[in-house]
Amino acid sequence: MSQLIFERTVPFRRAVRFDVCDVPEVKLDEKYVRLSKARLPEVSEVDIVRHYMELSRYSFGVDNGFYPLGSCTMKYNPKLNEFTASLEGFTSIHPDQPLSSVTGTLELMDQLSLSLMEITGMDAFTLQPAAGAHGEFTGLLLIRAYHNAHNDNKRTKVIVPDSSHGTNPASASMAGYTVVSVPSNDQGGVDVNALKAVLNDEVAALMLTNPNTLGLFDSNICEIARLVHEVGGLVYYDGANLNAIMGTARPGDMGFDVVHLNLHKTFSTPHGGGGPGSGPVGVKSCLVPYLPQGTLIKEAYGYRYIDARDTLSIGRMRSYYGNFLVNVRAYTYILSLGSDGLKSASQNAVLNANYMMNALKDTFPVAYPQTCMHEFVISLAQLKKETGISAKDICKALLDYQMHPPTMYFPLIVHEALMIEPTETESKESMDYFIQVLKDLKQLAYDNPQKILNAPYTTPVKRVDDVQAARNPILKYTFK
């Protein structure tokens, strides 16, 4: 593989040079000054370009190939969004500039909020949270503030399904709640009887995603929301799976009180190797008084941000107003697709998933074999039992085919799970190819399992030793 940038150091090489400083020298007291220069890389501009070009060759994005990662919605990232997010009038603005100097930005944020309200059926939005999990934490604090304002302080519990994403219970803990897990029924939805058994006046909220993490629409959703409201709890929507239903259904109509969206999933903003994302939170009017400081609101005389004078606010969730340039990309996307395109995108996301599920159902058991939404889960438990080849092994074999494997081992309730989400931007040909490869690999698992166990063959490194990475952590470069 490649050298680390530090290993390319040649003393006194540098890339960028600054002009000579045009103001006098200043001497600070020695006690404040760095003892020796930081051992940052000393490289030329050519070195830097070659280095990062090499690293880019050993990376794999949606732009490189098929990326059917269930629950991640790896749809195509439109290039137009990159251009709009690079406009100087958006990038070169200090967040503390007077509001009168940023009217374009305020208008954009307002229009984005209004669009998201319409798409989700909610009454107001905050664009502040930096990611989905951050949105979850924000939403739970809103719920807690609501109950607190109603002097309803024995509500210490939040219910999450056993199929939920790990961020749901983690965010609930951050808000000081105890997490109660509720099992799924044999259709993959929330077991309503089990839910009834845990619902009482100690429950602050139920967190759900719909379609759920199995890619199934829970048709009991309205009743579930009603049951929670009946005991005085609120219902939280994890918007990670919104890509299934835009333009066809809305969480606000299902009874959800608070919603977060993942702009880096549903709204095409790029994943960047792990971030930045953006997790706007939408609320029904009952939660509006508690929205975080740094949320843009429109009043009779103009815009302002919620601040310390808004005493019911949950407080500030982060600096400033949100991942603004990510929000610009999402707004660009919404304008590009429009009401018709957003609906068509979701419909085709669901079509593509059903197409693949139908093509694969005779090859691997589908965990819940009914019409799926935008993703579906197959189980390789039987394959493992009969050949010793696991879901992980199949994923490693897929790496040789220039495709990213599906999500593995999630949700936890399906054994040897592979969750497949093609998204709407994938072509029939690339899906057909993936299907064929999976079928071939299954055959290979029976004929010659060792060939799969030794995969991948063509990647820059062979199977990486995760155990050693955790046992003997080397977390930074050691200088000689």
């Binding site: 967040p95 961020t167 429009g338």
Partner: protein
Amino acid sequence: MADYLSNTPDQQIQMLKEIGLNSLEELYANLPQDLILQKPLNLELGQSEFKVYDTLKELASKNKVYKTVLRGAGVEYHYIPSVVKQLSNREEFVSAYTPYQSELSQGILQSIFEYQSSMCEITGMDVCNASVYDGATAAAEAIQMVIEKNRRKILVPKNIHPQVVSVMRTYTQWLNIEIVDVEYKNGVVDMDDLKSKCDDTCAALFIQHPNYFGLLEDVMDISQVVHSSGAKLVQYTNPMTLGYLKTPRANGVDIAIGEAQPLGIAMSYGGPYLGFMAASAELVRRLPGRIVGQTVDEVGKRAFALTLQAREQHIRREKASSSICSNQALMALTASMYLATVGPSGLKEVAEFSMRKAHYFASELVKIGFKLKYTGPYFHEFVTVSPLENTIMERVLDEINVLAGLSLSSHETLWCCTETTKKDDIDRVVSRLKEALV
């Protein structure tokens, strides 16, 4: 309309037939039918790229881009080298997911490892995570790193960025954690007040250095007081300044956190930014967020992987100390590229020049009747008490395309200079202000 679909309507019909359906609407047959929207969303129809770009350009043009920016308070205008802008835009980085599949993602993983290494090097720390949302949430997350069963008090001086403290309070409002103010004297931490409040129920003292007013704190002295009561010292810092200033580690700090926007990231009206968290080795298991580690592959070749994942939400769920999943990975890559591009000498120059420009500006302002509010040593930011009211001053400078320092009160201003602040522009500003004073 752009929908970025590849499949044509004909292909869609063919696919529908294969699964036994006649229309896209039928895909939703299992949903409760009263949830199905009967009308289109009340949004405009999709538009061409041409039209959308025009709309966005129009919005952007309504914003004022100042030629000279003298406002900082954590977000600064520094020069971003072209090579950083170019390479951080490579689609392989931009459109990639989190590198859970190590074999396919060695480039991303290595870039994160390099970022971690560079941040450890400039802070003097042993470990650094792969990023959190911003500096303010880094401070809030650091609280969980220091809390013990019998130490639930966090000391926070009043000269830390108010937004940072605000987020710390929001994050801890329902947890059994107390945030206690520490006073400042002449702009820096009041040692007497600190000593009176630092006891064995304190988990940590958080300081900002250089602090919100731009002043330099006596971190070594502070660290002695804090450690003698068994508490930890957390330093919130602008990593750009570490090109010149002593490392947090050398000052006895246990955890270094802050906002790394000054390292090659545009001001962006608030985000995306880059929260960094670096700590001494014994605190590694309490660090939130992703961490990349070095290991080997099956044949002994050096390789990188996400590691120590048992700290994180997807494994620990409700027992995780943080719910963070998506972070600011691309911004970390950008910062790492910036640090490699400026190198050790360049980072020193950026810091030193920023400091020199600020001192020059301050001395020129003093000559025309401004006063420095605090007398102690400062770095690249400083607070003045002005003979001119701030609203007037801002307007006067706005007219010459200059964004004045941040108004702290009617006559107090927090100014910031960087290596981009030209002497000519400083002179122009001072001369214009002198006119306005007459």
